[in-house]
Symmetry: C2
Subunit: 187 residues, 2 copies
């Protein structure tokens, strides 16, 4: 998966071959073929791996504070203006999403990633409501708003040359969506 | 442009040829070539035409009320769950956006469309602030939040088989972003 990641950064989705991935892989091309029959199967596994990268921080977080956890998870989807590797990976995600309209294997995996990300956001919001930190909102809908806005902003950032888009969106989401959730008495 | 629109709905971006567009066009293929040297030029013109379709409602709107105008413009980006033609057009827009990462002509036109849409949202919010209907927010950032969330939701709707995504997002945006803008004394 690390080799696929490096190969995607180096070649981009459209130009990537199994050989390009094998070139990044210390072991052999036959080993890749042993595990994955097609490029599509390998990419589905890669999308699953990407989800783990997105969500791993949540499990090792050192804080229980719902507001801090929410901020940490928003950060996962912010692409710094000068982080070209991260931007290049998002270009690939945008390309996978575009393919997903016609490719069932990508669609299923990406839809399952999307749900898993919403579950993390909604879980944090739900915990915050139970802890008396957030006011009573619909956790699922708030999660959809946060992630759709970040997802839209990062798509814009990498496809329309707007290097600050996710950084600005994170600030706007804090000001206009997250801070209004806070109950004074919980702080 | 209407012929291009019909041809895109029928064939999709990836499979579309100049002949496919000419087949939808009462006049001749040579007339298309007279105006557009390449498929790329034709598509840039089509993206400009799409922007006009998005924004034309703003100019003919029968209301001056900032809240009503904001709701009308949010509606432009909602794709009804059963509107297959609209969904198919959004698939093409997603594909153009994905291409824009590598294609300067698409990137310039789509970035200019994005800015124009933000200008409409920001203009309505600014008018609302001046009229004492909305509280003092940053019109540009609020515009970015509204459009990124809708854009993210419509991308999800068509690529990840989530037919209600934009309908739900419009409701969530009203509840969590637009209604909190309202100053009681302005109503």
């Amino acid at each position: 998966m690390e080799a696929t990641y490096r190969a995607l950064c180096a070649h981009g989705y459209a130009n990537l071959t199994m050989q390009g991935i094998a070139d990044e892989f210390e072991k052999s091309k036959s080993l890749i073929h042993y595990h994955y029959d097609t490029k599509e199967e390998l990419f589905v596994a890669f999308l699953e791996y990407l989800l783990d990268r997105y969500t791993e921080g949540v499990e090792v977080s050192e804080t229980d504070d719902p507001l801090d956890r929410l901020e940490e998870f928003l950060d996962v989807f912010v692409v710094a203006p000068d982080d070209e590797d991260a931007a290049s990976l998002v270009v690939d995600v945008v390309e996978f999403r575009s393919q997903a309209a016609h490719n069932e294997a990508y669609r299923e995996q990406l839809a399952s990633n999307y749900e898993a990300i919403l579950d993390v956001f909604a879980g944090i919001i739900e915990d915050g409501i139970k802890a008396g930190v957030f006011r009573e909102v619909d956790p699922r809908r708030t999660a959809e708003l946060l992630f759709a806005a970040l997802d839209g902003a990062r798509n814009r950032q990498v496809t329309l040359d707007a290097p600050e888009a996710t950084t600005t969106m994170r600030e706007t989401l804090m000001e206009q969506v997250v801070e209004p959730l806070l109950l004074e008495e919980g702080r």
